[in-house]
Amino acid sequence: MTSFIDYLIGGVSNGAVIALMAIALVLIWRATRVVNFAQVGQAMFTTFVALTVQTLTGSWALALVVAMVAGAILGVIVQFLVLRPMRRADTSGAIIATFGVLIALQAAVGMIWGGDAQAYPQPFDNAGVVAFGRIWPISVYDFVVIGVTILLVIALSLLFTRTSIGLAMRASAFNPEVARLSGVRVSRVLTFGWALAGVVGAVAGVLVAPSSTVSPTTFDILLVFAFTAAVIGGLDSLVGAVALGVFAGLVISLVSGLSNSGNAPVVALVLLALSLITKPDGVFGHHKARAV
């Protein structure tokens, strides 16, 4: 029973990272109705940027900030060069294009930083916290991860509910035509959404990097987990993405702990298939008539 609880506690920070990546997917889906499968490629790129900055300066916080800026820029570039001209293409085209971006970004990462897995320096104490006479399976760094995630989620929800750009984003997502007529510069708002998603993805990448290694394809599995969380959460819902992201982290930690970490992708696959069979619009999603 103790180990069961330990696995659950240990899964929270992992779940926080999955939640962030799922948020990035949801942000772009809400803005442009595209699932950005290149998101992990962007995150990997910015994580390597962060690794370079950290190696040069030794500052974890600076590396995180630089990665966030790089994430925003990369998001804008991808949206501008690939997805914006894609509006006329069919949905298959947009999906395929995001995979094209993923392939190119992973190759670019391999070209610049090499294909081998590299260790990301541990910025904070990674040993289990000692309290109440025992060692807990959660470290100071895990608290940092969870804290940053909570801050980011609060900031995002404030942005969406309290600011005019947030209102414009919601309006553009709800009905681009009406938003445009009401004076919202929809295409700029969409680009802002991509930049925002890039920032969130970059944070997720930098946060998860110390607990795994970084190589061009390390984050592939994160994409699967995040997509699973985002879809079960409804793809439209930030709350759903966060809740299901954390939930996925817990399940994965449980499964990895009780059996074998190699089973985690299979579990994600089963979860995803089950949720798509039973609730194709997700747990938190709004049921909409399908366009035909």
């Binding site: 889906w29 595209v34 699932v35 499968f37 060069l81 690939v82 001209p85 894609m86 293409a89 069919d90 949905t91 298959s92 085209g93 947009a94 999906i95 395929i96 294009a97 995979f99 094209g100 971006v101 993923l102 392939i103 190119a104 970004l105 992973q106 190759a107 670019a108 391999g110 070209m111 090499g114 294909g115 897995a117 190589s215 061009p216 394809t217 592939d220 599995i221 994409l223 699967v224 997509f227 699973t228 879809v231 793809l235 074998n260 190699g262 089973n263 985690a264 992708p265 299979v266 994600a268 696959l269 995803l272 298939a273 798509l276 069979i277 194709p280 399908r290 035909v292």
Partner: protein
Amino acid sequence: MTSLLRFPGARLVSHAAFVIIIWFLVMRLNDSVDPLANYYIALVAMYATAMFGMVILVGLSGQVSLGNGALMAVGGYVFAVTSLHWQTVPILGVPWNGWWSMVFAAVGGIVVGLLIGGIAARLRGPYLAGLTLGLAVGVPAIANRFPELLGGESGLMLTVPYPEGGYAPVEEEVFVDSSADTLSGDASTMAVPSADAAVSPDDMLTMDNFPTTDASAAVPSVDASVIDPGATDMSGVDLSGTGDLIDASFIIERWQAGLAITVACIAAFIALNLVRGRQGRVWRAVRDDSVAAAVAGISPAKAKVSAFAVSSLFAALAGAVFAQILSYVGPGAFGLGLSLSLLVGVVLGGRSSLLGAVIGGLLLVWLPEFVLSLSEKGGWGDQITNNAPNLIYGLLVVLVVLLAPGGIVGSVQMLIAKVTRRAPKGV
């Protein structure tokens, strides 16, 4: 000509004739080139087989799938497990040979395809892509779940069932059986003796028309076409290490390529009949407007599931061939990279055309070699050489989707249509 083609079954006959002619020509070509070229031909044929399925699934039925690499894994593993464990075919009791394993791989592929297709038929665009992405990552991981049966992370080495009669002259096939080494399953130790063999000048039996040095250099570079740079598990597997032959007239690569060509031609025959027949129209109708198709009496769900099953059959066949080309199956060989390669190939070649699948296969095999030759001239580092093909693929995919959604074949058709001022053929 058109009047000749009106009798019942004419299309079947003409497709059969066409495929047989192609088969004959490619087999002749295969016999006249060196083993390295045989190896490339085998890879192209293998990719083409899998991508016929991608054309049907992505191009005709409009379902973007990342899972076909995983379906190839199904075929490859069924082939490997049955060929390692069976002496006789269960139930039938007849002596086992390689073709039985292929049949079981095909059946396994269809079953899994129906299963996934049943789920996939309910899903649209990004949901389906995400589910199949999960497949591409999750299915190879299943091998880790059953390390005794499936070999876990290190995969399974298999002795390829070479023919007793058939392609190579029977009486001259004598093997120095190195299967004991082969079955030990350690790819890195396997490469060592064969690399030695490549440099030792007295080993003329395999050296005389067998550019082993080139071949062993080529394997990792072709490996780079499998997009996942982490998937280097198979880079140590040298084809020449699967069995040293006493007689030089039997060339493993040539036999493997012959097998791959034959399977590709069988797949092409099936695909041609489906695509150019009623079923092809059904798939296109559902892709273009599923409501209109349903009004016309077509079941969209059935059409989508059948597209999945057929493409899965082809993927499984390709996987079984791949297993024989590599003499190996492992999670690294069938990872997400392979699935992405298939998508790249079919998009670049032409999403809606079987010819596009072949061109895509050629592109997947040729580009890494081309980049390698450039890098030898330009003196690029490994880091650039290994990643340049994927960078080019990724950028090309984006460009093709933006500018020429029909891929190479579609663009050529458009060009011809412009020149002859006719409407392009419906795709």
